[in-house]
Symmetry: C2
Subunit: 206 residues, 2 copies
């Protein structure tokens, strides 16, 4: 069990309807030490990959993205959400359905902040149905840039986002993948994740 | 001229209607080195003040708050905005008018994340009319906690927020205060800020 799985067990609460509440340390209050460890762990998992930009979506991905940008010493970009994106205004625009707000949101990045030469690590706090990650990938591709990988703190393994992204061949790393939760017994089953074996050859590719 | 004033002159653009665009480094793309310096400078300016929590409001304050929380090694809380705040649901709720969205927003923090014992440093990227800072102060006071100070990256000195907060006796520190901008000549006049003199006695108060 890794540090984040332990933290989820210790401080998370399961609410009726398969809802995991971990906003005491991840996405409302931020436990800065956990955030630091998330950044270190994502950088470690992507150690064979070149990254020159970190991309996330407002709001709750910004803390992780900032810590990672600090660690990599590369610029961070956060895509904005809103109905107000004006496509003519030098923006890359995509769409994502927000289950929280029950509407399609435009997701956009000003064009000067994504270049064709960028190797972009996309990060977010949660992965559920994958709408946000797919929209961010779309923005990166619109800019002619490369997606270096997708780094997630907590993946809801019973939702389809992880499956879609892995089947597309994305390099997706989720620090904790929850496969099952039970409200009555307050238990959580995490997916076993095999350690990704790296060879010297892999690492030298960097 | 400090690092942030220089950066604004170098990379900012003034648009017609007294609009300063600095989203290439502050609030859309994030220049991580500038962000680090902002955090160091705010911590330095508040060196005589005890801080055990950093509070901001989503979205664009989160990067600065995260860097400061990392530096202080204290928890960060970001207040959420929305029309959806349910007052019965264990939240402190305040209101702020959003000039961007032209509506009143609820601003809220879950009650467990602000304690009466907290000494809260409020931070944000911009200070304009002060609506966000006043709402955050209100939340801190609702919790019976103390506002240690308000730390801002860029203050629009011609708007009323700074004046209101200073007249209330707030300890407000803005790294760059813009008093005037001129679109035609693309010039910016920053307010001279006297260095706050600290004595050993002041510092020992910490």
């Amino acid at each position: 069990m890794n540090f984040l799985e332990e933290k989820i067990l210790m401080d998370g609460t399961i609410k009726q309807g398969n809802i995991l509440k971990i906003d005491s340390f991840l996405n409302h209050q931020i436990d800065i030490d956990i955030m630091r460890q998330i950044a270190y762990e994502l950088k470690r998992r992507f150690r064979d990959v070149e990254v020159n930009k970190v991309l996330t979506i407002e709001s709750s991905g910004i803390a992780i993205a900032t810590m990672l940008g600090n660690l990599y010493d590369v610029p961070v970009v956060f895509a904005k959400k809103g109905e107000s994106a004006n496509v003519t205004d030098d923006k890359y625009v995509s769409q994502a359905y927000s289950f929280t707000h029950k509407r399609m949101n435009n997701v956009f990045v000003s064009q000067p902040y994504l270049h064709a030469s960028d190797k972009v690590l996309i990060v977010d706090d949660f992965l559920a149905d994958g709408q946000a990650s797919l929209a961010l990938m779309d923005l990166v591709h619109q800019a002619g840039a490369q997606v270096a990988g997708i780094g997630i703190a907590v993946e809801k393994g019973w939702q389809r986002g992880g499956k879609i992204l892995r089947e597309m061949g994305c390099r997706l790393e989720s620090i904790a993948i929850i496969d099952e939760m039970d409200w009555e017994t307050q238990t959580i089953r995490f997916r076993q994740q095999p350690e990704r074996k790296l060879t010297k050859t892999n690492l030298n590719m960097k």
